[in-house]
Subunit: 289 residues, 2 copies
C-alpha cells in the first residue's frame, strides 16, 4: 500500500495544472489541500481494482488522481463556514482558514473541474475512449446530486433531527460510499475488467464503504485529534447523525465487521488476486480498535 | 434563435436529475437558477456551430444543456457573499438569498458535476465516444483553472488595483470568453466538423466573447436594472476592472465592433451557412446601443 501511495502522489503532482499556466493563489490552495493528504484510500482502491482484473497501474493512475481531487474538493467545500464550519482538516487549518472563503470555494471548484480535465485529456484509442467515457460517467454519478452531493444535502437537513438507520445509511452511502465504490468500479473498467468483474468490485466497494464510515463515526466519538487529524466529537456537538449515536459503539463495530465480510465475499471469483483487497477490508475494520 | 432557445430549454428540462432520485431542495435550487434563465447565448452558439459544420441539433443538445449548466453554476458561485456578494441575478433574488449559502454552494457544485454526467452518459458508438471525450476535455478546460476559474481569481485579486488592457482582457477571456469559445468548439466537434472548422469556430468564439464582455461592461455602467436583470453600477462600486473604466465608452464600443468583425471574418470558409452566426455577432454588438 505504501508503494501505491507513492504512485498516487507522483500522479497527483504530475497532473496538477503546470505552474505559470494558472493564477498562483488558486494553485497554491489546490496543492495545500492535496498534500500531504490523507490515507489516499480511494485512489489506492482504484489501483488495486485495476490490478485485480489484470490491468497495469499506469492505465488507472490519472483516474486515481482525479478521484483523489474530487475527494479533496468535497472536503474543502464541506469545511466551509456555511457548511460544516470546520477549522481543522487532516491535522492542519482547513483551506478557508488559510486562503479565505472565496479562494476555498474556487479551489474546490478547480479541483472538481480539473478531475474531469484529467480524465478526458490525452489522445486515446477507440477502446480507451469508451472506457474513459464510462469512467467519467461513474465518477460524475458518484460525485453528483445522486451521490456525494445528495449525501451532504441530506446530512445538512438531518442535523438535530431524529433519524433512522435507513436514513443514516443513505446519508453515508452518498457522502462516503459512492466515491469509494466508484473508485473500485473505475479501476475495474480502466483495467479492462468485464461487466461481472466490475459489478463484483462495486459490491466490494459498497461493503467497505459502509464499514469505513461506521468506523469513522466511532473514531470521531472515541479517537484523539492527533490520530484522526480533525476536530473530535464535532459530530456530537453538531448533533450529526452517526452510527454510534444510533446503535451504540459495540453494535456499530459488529455492523462494520459484517459489512466488511460482505465486501470480502464479493471478491471470491478473483481467487488469490483478491488478497490485497481482502486485507484492505480487514485494515479498515481494525482501524476502529 | 427563439426556436433554438426552445430546443435548449427542453433539453435542460429533460436532462435534469429525475424528481425523486435526488434531495428535493438541491434540485429546486438547480431549477431556480436554470429557469427561466438568461439569453441562453452559449448553448444556442453550440447548436449553431453544430449546424454550420453540417450536424443535426440532436447531436449537440445534451452538450448544449451541459454548457448552460456550467454557465449557471458559475453565476451561482460568483454571486455568493464570499465572492461578488450579489443579491440580484437575472432580475430575481440570487440563489443564496433564497436557499441560503450552504445550498447555493451545493447547487453550484451539483450543476457543475451534472454537466459532466450528461456529457458522459448514454452509450455511444466508438466514433461518438471519441468526440464526446474531446468535448468533455474542451468543456473542462474552459471551466477550469486555466479558464473560468482563472478569470474569477484574477478578477478578485484585481479589485481596487490599477489594471492594464492586457490584464483586463485576460480576466474576461477567462470569465466569459473561454466558455463562449468552448461552446462553439463543442458544437463543431459533436457536429462532425474537421480540425480546420473547429479552429475557425474557436476564432469566431474568441472574437464574439470579447465583444460580448465589452458590451456587458458598457451595459453595467449605462443600462437599467430592468433591462439587464442584475445590480447596475455594481462593477464601479466594487472598483472592478472594466473596459469603459479603462478606455471610456466610445473607445470600448469601437473595440467591441472590431472584435465582432474579426469573429465574422473567421467564418468566411463556411460561406452562406455562416449567416446565422454572422447575425449573432451583429446582435451582440448592437445590444450595447
Amino acid at each position: 500500500m505504501d508503494a501505491d501511495r507513492r504512485l498516487v502522489d507522483a500522479a497527483l503532482r504530475r497532473l496538477l495544472p503546470p505552474r505559470g499556466s494558472v493564477p498562483v493563489t488558486v494553485r497554491r490552495a489546490m496543492v495545500y489541500s492535496l498534500f500531504p493528504g490523507g490515507k489516499r484510500l480511494r485512489p489506492i482502491l482504484a489501483v488495486q481494482a485495476c490490478r485485480v482484473v489484470g490491468g497495469r497501474p499506469e492505465e488507472v493512475l490519472p483516474a486515481a488522481a482525479a478521484i483523489e481531487m474530487i475527494h479533496t474538493y468535497s472536503l474543502v467545500h464541506d469545511d466551509l463556514p456555511a457548511l460544516d464550519n470546520d477549522d481543522l482538516r487532516r491535522g492542519r487549518a482547513s483551506s478557508h482558514r488559510i486562503f479565505g472563503e472565496a479562494m476555498a470555494i474556487l479551489a474546490g471548484d478547480a479541483l472538481l473541474t480539473h478531475a474531469f480535465e484529467i480524465l478526458s485529456g490525452h489522445p486515446a484509442t477507440a477502446r480507451q475512449a469508451n472506457r474513459r467515457l464510462r469512467a467519467i460517467a461513474v465518477l460524475a454519478g458518484a460525485a453528483g446530486v445522486q451521490g456525494m452531493i445528495a449525501g451532504q444535502v441530506m446530512d445538512l437537513e438531518a442535523e438535530g433531527r431524529p433519524f433512522t438507520y435507513a436514513k443514516l445509511q443513505r446519508i453515508h452511502r452518498g457522502k462516503t460510499g459512492a466515491l469509494i465504490s466508484a473508485a473500485l468500479q473505475i479501476g475495474g473498467i480502466l483495467g479492462g475488467g468485464d461487466e461481472t468483474q466490475v459489478r463484483a468490485l462495486r459490491s466490494y466497494g459498497d461493503g467497505i464503504g459502509l464499514a469505513f464510515q461506521v468506523v469513522d463515526d466511532i473514531l470521531d466519538q472515541e479517537g484523539s485529534p492527533e490520530g484522526l487529524g480533525k476536530s473530535i466529537g464535532k459530530d456530537r456537538r453538531d448533533r450529526k447523525a452517526t452510527f454510534p449515536a444510533l446503535l451504540g459503539v459495540p453494535a456499530s463495530r459488529r455492523r462494520a465487521a459484517r459489512a466488511a465480510a460482505r465486501a470480502v465475499a464479493a471478491l471470491r471469483s478473483f481467487g488469490r488476486r483478491g488478497t490485497p483487497l481482502t486485507e484492505l477490508a480487514r485494515f479498515i475494520v481494525e482501524r476502529g480498535h
